[in-house]
């Protein structure tokens, strides 16, 4: 493991410190925590707070999306490990303006339980808290008898939609209702060329051979659904779009937002080549995205690979929310 770090045990506090000091115009630390909140407090006055977070290692998620028009606060857990309830609770308190706070949680048992405990703590303070659990990763079979699907890159669209609504003055109940409507419309699937190496453990999450790829891996190196030989970009696109289409039945009469997301170590050149093939493939369905982003948004440290998110814009307002300007480090 060769990394630009100091003590592996301190990567998260040092990273958070580096982030708030590099971008004081956007974010500030929530005192005595590894959570960050908007520097522009005025932008939160009278608004519902939107709080997200999770394990670290997915930068710029989540702290890079804190700012006017998007998240109110982000809680940074240890690498790939859910933050603790007390930290989430402090973030909730810091951004609550009396209009309540909405939590965007990714579906991992740790995150769900820790955020739930934080909610319990906030309840005791009479802070109204509602939440959504994002589970956009279609690699995993869905089932109510299991943990269900993971929350991955599609979470970004949830942040953006709810952040825009909150900025426009929506109530906690309105935000809650929209979150529920948005949720089933976001689907993501990934392909990995190599796993991330966690600085704490010093080991890669899995090892692929020199010519191997794996479809369906998660953002903490959770296993995917198939390993095979590396293929041309356009064949990767065919596989991933095929999976997404099975789920959401692409329809030329519908509008879509698309996120091509680099996992951390994949050059933008490859992401754009992938995007080119993707747009060709979508054209076969007579689909042209109404909104598109390409880049490293929900990374997994130094993992090489790409995830593809397609978000059906079932409500026309959602496109406006996506296009609404924000003041963040990374959107």
């Amino acid at each position: 493991m060769k990394k630009i770090i100091n003590d592996p045990a301190n990567v998260v506090p040092e990273m958070v410190e580096g982030m708030v000091r590099s971008y004081p115009q956007y974010i500030a630390k929530v005192k005595d925590t590894e959570a960050v909140m908007r520097a522009d407090k005025d932008s939160m006055t009278g608004k519902v707070g939107i709080v997200s977070g999770g394990g670290s290692g997915h930068e710029p998620t989540h702290a890079g999306f804190v700012g006017k028009g998007m998240l109110s606060a982000a809680v940074c857990g240890q690498v790939f490990t859910s933050p603790t309830p007390d930290q989430v609770y402090e973030a909730i308190k810091a951004v609550n303006q009396g209009q309540g706070v909405f939590l965007v949680i990714k579906n991992y048992s740790g995150d769900v339980m820790n955020f739930d405990m934080a909610k319990d703590m906030a309840d005791m303070d009479n802070i109204k808290v509602k939440s959504i659990v994002v589970d956009d990763d279609i690699a995993v079979e869905n089932s109510t008898f299991t943990q269900g699907r993971r929350g991955v890159a599609g979470t970004l669209f949830m942040h953006k939609i709810l952040g825009a609504m909150a900025q426009n003055g929506a109530s906690l109940d309105e935000i809650d209702a929209t979150a529920k409507k948005v949720l089933p419309n976001i689907k993501t699937i990934a392909v990995a060329l190599s796993a991330a190496t966690n600085p704490e453990t010093g080991k890669p999450g899995f090892v692929l051979k020199d010519n191997e790829i794996e479809y369906g891996v998660g953002i903490h190196s959770e296993p995917g659904y198939r390993r095979e030989q590396i293929k041309p970009a356009k064949d990767l696109v065919t596989e991933l779009v095929g999976k997404l289409n099975d789920e959401m039945h692409l329809d030329q009469n519908k509008k879509y937002a698309v996120l091509v997301n680099g996992m951390g170590a994949t050059p933008l050149m490859e992401q754009y080549i992938f995007s080119n093939d993707l747009l060709n493939k979508l054209a076969e369905f007579n689909v042209k995205p109404a909104f598109m982003k390409v880049g490293n948004y929900m990374t997994s440290l130094d993992m090489a690979g790409i995830s593809l998110t397609i978000f059906e814009l079932a409500d026309d307002k959602w496109l406006d929310y996506l296009n609404q300007p924000v003041e963040t480090i990374a959107w």
Binding site: Q78, V79, S82, T84, Y108, M113, N114, T201, E222
Partner: protein
Amino acid sequence: MGLTVKNVIEWMNNFSAKIEQNKQFLSDLDTAIGDGDHGFNMSRGMTAVSQKLSTEPKTITDAFKQIAMTLISTVGGASGPLYGTAFLEMAKKSSTSSDIGDLLAAALTGIKKRGGAEPGDKTMVDVWTALVPEVKTNKLTQEKIASAVEATKDLVAKKGRASYLGERSKGHVDPGSQSSGYLFEALLETEGIL
């Protein structure tokens, strides 16, 4: 004898020592079917617990509460709220009972409620479900602990990260079950509680 502040502390220090010793092993188990951090998570938490308990709490209830709050605020992940909830429930129960069997039963109820897992889901719930009755009937042994932990090996995970593996989670011991095994071992080795 029964529970005292002193032997609760000793229990926790024993537990902490086992975690420290097996930190890498727990993480390796977690690498096979999870995200490879369980040893580090538990080590971070139990180091903080030992540190916290170096100032002796006044009551047994205080001791369990401090253990709970420390775990909740330092471990994170799935195991943090689960172990935290377990000790929080033990703290609550300790105000009306000093029977370790009763306390552990309350802890198990808390774990199941917090995580929604049932026996057979290949989580720490399996080990707790197997061993709490043994504590209650005073029949806990090293062998029973080992076999309860080992029994998770053949299960298919239904909760937690390992559930993403489906059938492929078979053949690996559940890391949270292994760390729970250490908790019961530490209990067994702490003189005077059982």
